[in-house]
């Protein structure tokens, strides 16, 4: 049942005035039925895939608020990012679109909607100064106030992007202000002499997290990639695991947007169930294309949508293609999962896949398509284990196979093995339950609306924790994101989880609660005491207070 069905019911019931100016869509792939008119048409695949450059260092500056733990022995590298309003081309047939975005302070003109890619190296601390140059007198959706979340990072609390200022805890910075973030990039467990080099990320991102307005600010464009490198995942295919690197390692930020007749971003500030767009963007361009060489590529897929879940398939002439899955939010898998045919991404999730284009002759055309059906902010049709995957879908990216190139070696059978949680650890863990529910039209966790001035849970540092996350029903999906640590997924609905979220193979930082799902996840919150949040990453749900604070004490 969606808003279209509501319309039908209301028409049967005699008709309501509110339905009259809303268009009807017969096509199941057409935009969702809501208050906004459809975006203007654009010719697909006429623009190349944007590849926002890597953030470049600046001279060291004084950042008195940043303190690194004594275990951080390498000197920090310094960066500056400016958040600004700018006009970028989302598609050559449209006028320039006003967006909010991050840019490298060393680069005067940033023609991308997506911000610079931060590359961090294990054990090498970095300081990022974020300067807010958003327009102070902005009118429209989005607020020119920021707090930047390093999504996937294991960092001190004040650098995590807590959503709200609290007494003696100023983390939100307004137009004209800046904030210095310190990311030590040490291995979790370092402060207890138990640094765990198997607990490292791969593909992360950074984005705004300001209370009540994260959806509007992220939708406006405050998004960038954050990639991690170390001696295994070296970003150099001649060393380490020799994964496809350089031009053959391509981050793909997948987003949906809605545009008005002037090509400007449209958003419905009154639609808090979850915003859906009808334009398919990759790295800030509408339906771009990419010419690839006949060799292996690593694609890092990020679901950067506010509320749309994605079921991405690689399609050649209508036929589903296969690839290897090598990483999730929690970094490289212990082993590649071969011959996959679907990348299921809830909002904020990431998966890295390796596609071997050597199997296709030059001139072959493939499409990266979202085949998942979703009609409104509740989530996709079907269940988490059996989502409704359709026979056709929205083409996000066209891939054209070009000439030959030297290839990287086969993906090894072992990537980054890590120990699964033992029965002894499970037995020793503190258990907590959190139920995410809609009650009287508003979100509650364990029956309560959330107030970030008080922790809902206080968790002892380094203690063992098992959290049972329950979906309270109503047909809603909730992708639950927990800050500070990756989760080991122990069970889903009492069963062993699928390999791409099973402990011992994968870790996650967003766990999807499909309708009526219940998952058990294991944590050890290490190294950093302070205030953290757990929230639904359907951003409109998060902004409507589906978020709780937990303190590590």
């Amino acid at each position: 049942m969606n808003r279209r069905d509501l319309l039908r019911l209301s028409l049967v019931g005699g008709g309501l005035a509110w339905t009259q100016r809303r268009p009807l869509f017969a096509n199941p792939l057409a935009p969702p039925f809501d208050d906004l008119p459809p975006s203007p048409a654009t010719t697909p695949f006429v623009t190349t895939l944007p590849l926002p450059p890597v953030l470049t260092p600046v001279a060291p500056f004084s950042a008195p608020d940043v303190t690194f733990p004594p275990q951080a022995v390498n000197p920090p590298t310094y960066y500056k990012i400016i958040s600004e309003e700018r006009f970028v081309s989302l598609h050559p047939e449209l006028p320039l679109t006003r967006v909010w975005g991050y840019r490298d302070a060393n680069v005067a003109n940033w023609p991308f909607a997506v911000g610079p890619t931060i590359v961090g190296r294990a054990q090498h601390p970095i300081v990022v100064r974020h300067e807010n140059q958003l327009p102070a007198n902005h009118v429209g959706f989005g607020v020119p106030e920021e707090t930047v979340h390093f999504h996937g990072g294991h960092v001190e609390a004040r650098s995590d992007g807590f959503p709200e200022d609290l007494p003696n805890y100023d983390v939100v910075f307004g137009s004209g202000q800046h904030y210095d973030y310190g990311y030590a990039l040490l291995d979790p467990g370092f402060s207890h002499g138990a640094a765990d080099p198997t607990d490292r990320p791969a593909t992360m991102w950074y984005h705004d997290h300001v209370l009540d307005f994260t959806a509007q600010n992220v939708y406006s464009g405050l998004v960038g990639f954050f990639l991690f490198e170390d001696e295994l995942d070296t970003l150099d295919e001649t060393t380490g695991l020799r994964l496809p690197s350089g031009e053959f390692d391509v981050p793909l930020a997948l987003q949906d947007k809605r545009l008005d007749a002037q090509g400007q971003l449209a958003y419905d500030v009154f639609e808090h169930n979850g915003f859906l767009g009808d334009k398919w963007l990759v790295n800030g361009a509408i339906q771009p294309f990419l010419v690839v060489k006949r060799r292996k590529y690593r694609f890092r897929l990020l679901n950067g949508c506010n509320a749309r879940f994605l079921g991405m398939r690689l399609i050649k002439q209508g036929v589903v293609q296969r690839f290897d899955l090598i990483a999730t939010e929690g970094g490289l898998l212990s082993q590649p999962l071969r011959n996959r045919d679907l990348v299921f991404l809830s909002p904020a999730q990431r998966e890295d896949i390796v596609v071997d284009f050597a199997q296709y002759p030059a001139g072959t055309v493939l499409f990266l398509e979202n085949r998942l059906r979703q009609d409104d902010g509740r989530g996709p049709s079907g269940t988490f284990t059996q989502p409704e995957i359709q026979d056709r879908g929205a083409k996000f990216l066209k891939i054209v196979v070009g000439g030959d190139a030297a290839d990287s070696p086969p993906i090894p059978n072992v990537l980054r093995p890590f120990a699964a949680i033992t029965q002894a650890q499970i037995n020793g863990a503190t258990r907590r339950t959190f139920e995410f529910k809609r009650r009287n039209g508003v979100w509650v966790i364990n029956g309560q609306p959330v107030d970030l001035t008080q922790p809902m849970a206080s968790v002892p540092e380094n203690g063992l924790e098992i959290w049972r996350l329950k979906n309270g029903g109503g047909g809603w999906w909730h992708p639950v994101h927990i800050h500070l640590e990756f989760m080991h997924v122990l069970t889903r609905n009492g069963q062993t989880p699928a390999p791409d979220e099973r402990d011992g193979i994968a870790k996650r930082d967003v766990i999807t609660l499909g309708p009526n799902d219940e998952v058990e996840v294991f944590f050890q919150f290490r190294d950093f005491r302070g205030r953290w949040v757990m929230h639904c990453h359907t951003l409109e749900h998060e902004d409507a207070f589906m978020m709780m604070r937990f303190d590590v004490v």
């Binding site: 209370l211 307005f213 500030v269 009154f270 009287n440």
Partner: protein, 180 residues
């Protein structure tokens, strides 16, 4: 009700959209006066919007009582910098006199307008402002729509929703964030 056609004021972008959604077709306040909703009660204001029905035994009394506490915490800012608008969920039965009594019971003297009027108008408004449920069974249950507040800063085009069950001081902080 004399529903004279009214010209919507010329506004751009988000503000124009809000003007269209809220509309100026009149509703009747607790004193029996017709009010052009957008122009008189929303335009150029920071406003907290709620929906209740006066006979409600569910979440409505809590929502209105919470708003009364928020009003008290706002002190002299209430009525000057921030106003409240409460719409009925029960247009067939709610009369201005019902709302006058309701307002008296909550100590309302100024800055808080209670509106009733045509069912179609109020149903459309409720849905357009986000006080609806995607599940039609829940949507038909009007007790489902009284637990939320919409907070808007019309000149900024800035709007958000939050649960009315939050502590009053948390709602005040949200109003302050929206009002900035």
């Amino acid at each position: 009700m004399a529903a004279a056609p009214v010209e919507l004021p010329a506004l751009e972008g988000e503000r124009a959209r809000t003007a269209e959604l809220v509309g100026d077709a009149p509703l009747v306040d607790q004193t029996g006066r017709e009010r052009r909703v957008f122009t008189e009660l929303v335009r150029d204001r920071v406003v907290v919007i709620s929906f209740v029905y006066t006979r409600c035994q569910g979440s409505c009394p809590g929502t209105t009582a919470k708003l009364a506490r928020v009003r008290d915490l706002l002190g002299e800012r209430f009525g000057r910098d921030v106003t409240f608008v409460t719409f009925t969920l029960d247009p067939e039965r709610a009369t201005p006199a019902d709302f006058a009594e309701y307002a008296r019971a909550h100590g309302v003297t100024h800055g808080w307008t209670f509106l009733t009027g045509g069912k179609e108008r109020l149903d459309k408004l409720r849905r357009d402002l986000g006080f609806y449920d995607l599940d039609p069974v829940l949507d038909a249950d009007r007790t489902q729509h009284a637990a939320m507040l919409a907070i808007g800063n019309e000149p900024r085009g800035r709007w958000m929703h939050l649960p009315a069950a939050l502590p009053a001081d948390a709602i005040v902080r949200a109003i302050e964030r929206v009002a900035r």
